[in-house]
């Protein structure tokens, strides 16, 4: 027997059997680049902080807020009811199962738009619909909802309506500042009536 033939036979067999262990199917399916570009330039992929605030206040059940910042930042401050899925963990532990549920609007939140946008692009490339980005992120949230700026007196009435809404939302999210002090801490100041007629003389 020619030794080369045996060697080549074994090599070919090993290579062929090796193809059984190639896993190409677990590569995620992607949408076409043209489609992604179409979606990226749509302004409707953004929601404003006001819309988010309104939905939270109304208890909109179709809203799912996903905070994509690292867990440490999430622990420091986060919107009430938001879910923390850091961008790095997006594809881990079945996290993708939260997205693409019919009728659920997923809103990505980060400090600004950037991380949220990155997350949005990732989910879009995977062909998941119903994901949005909170425009301006938590920075914008702070500026508009937590510390809304009062419009000028001559500003259009819509601005004043918006300000009124934001002011209300501010109270909702920060808690109203107590107008009356707590009962426990009230110091009762007893004002004694001055004695005016002590030794003032006879009748």
């Amino acid at each position: 027997m020619n030794r080369n033939y045996i060697l080549l036979t074994v090599l070919m067999l090993v290579l062929a059997v090796g193809t059984l262990f190639l896993t190409t199917d677990d590569e995620p399916k992607q949408i076409a680049p043209e489609e992604l570009l179409q979606e990226i330039i749509q302004p409707t992929r953004y929601v404003t902080t006001d819309q988010v605030a309104k939905m939270i206040i109304q208890g909109d059940p179709s809203l799912l807020m996903v905070d994509v910042r690292p867990a440490a930042e999430y622990d420091e401050y986060a919107l009430p009811g938001s879910l923390n899925i850091p961008l790095e963990d997006l594809l881990n532990d079945g996290n993708l199962g939260y997205f693409g549920v019919p009728g659920i609007k997923v809103v990505f939140i980060s400090n600004d738009d950037i991380r949220a946008d990155q997350t949005w692009v990732l989910t879009k490339r995977l062909g998941i619909d119903g994901t949005y980005v909170m425009k301006g992120g938590l920075n914008k949230w702070m500026q508009t909802i937590i510390e809304p700026a009062q419009p000028n007196a001559d500003a259009p009435s819509v601005d004043h309506e918006l300000y009124a809404f934001r002011k209300g939302a501010q109270i909702y999210f920060t808690g109203a500042e107590a107008a009356t002090p707590d009962g426990d801490n009230v110091e009762v100041q007893v004002r004694r009536r001055e004695k005016t007629n002590v030794a003032a003389g006879g009748c």
Partner: protein
């Protein structure tokens, strides 16, 4: 990355250049494998020379396994390559005609030209017959046009039809091919023992 032209890695004008290079390489390999001799080619039908089977089966399993690895490392996308449509009945009939022509003439179309290249007279006659056949086929085409286009299964692969993943077929074909290589080696030895004279 690949396929190169559909993905715009190289321009579409290159396909003729690549075709010429591949043609030269193909012709060279055919000649180098001894395919320019009609005795070698016909030998597969008489059992004294299985070089045709070995060369083509080797090309087949190397290309098949190689493509799977290329796809895995991302050099070529198997989802983008052209798959020849399958016409079941016409292909079986065509295969039988091809085989009969092969054993009668001692060449297949490609090998007849390698035979011409080294000056074989029988290859010249085979090529003349080839062109006469093409001419006759073209003239008679309307007679069997319906059959020619019947049984179209589309651009299907075995994986599409059966749902069995491609690597399984690759292993099966490789095992069959390797078994055929070794099996035919013994057949050759036996048949040649009884032959008085055989010149390649």
């Amino acid at each position: 990355m690949g396929p190169l032209i559909p993905n715009g890695v190289i321009g579409g004008g290159w396909d003729f250049v690549i075709a010429i290079l591949l043609g030269v390489a193909f012709g060279f390999i055919l000649e180098a494998s001894g395919f320019s001799s009609s005795r070698n080619l016909a030998g597969v039908f008489y059992g004294y020379n299985f070089v045709v089977l070995r060369v083509f089966f080797t090309a087949l399993i190397v290309a098949m396994v190689g493509l799977l690895y290329f796809d895995y490392v991302g050099w070529i996308s198997l989802s983008q390559i052209f798959i020849l449509p399958t016409f079941l009945g016409p292909m079986i009939v065509g295969g039988v005609i091809m085989g009969v022509g092969f054993v009668l003439g001692g060449f297949c179309p490609g090998t007849s030209f390698t035979g011409i290249a080294i000056g074989k007279l029988d290859a010249v006659f085979f090529a003349i017959g080839l062109y006469v056949g093409i001419f006759g086929f073209s003239l008679a085409f309307p007679l069997f046009e319906n059959f020619f286009t019947s049984g179209n299964l589309g651009n299907v692969t075995l994986t599409d039809l059966t749902g069995i993943p491609a690597p399984v077929f690759a292993v099966i074909f490789t095992v069959v091919a390797l078994a055929a290589f070794w099996g035919t080696m013994f057949i050759e030895k036996r048949v040649r023992k009884n032959m008085k004279q055989y010149k390649f």
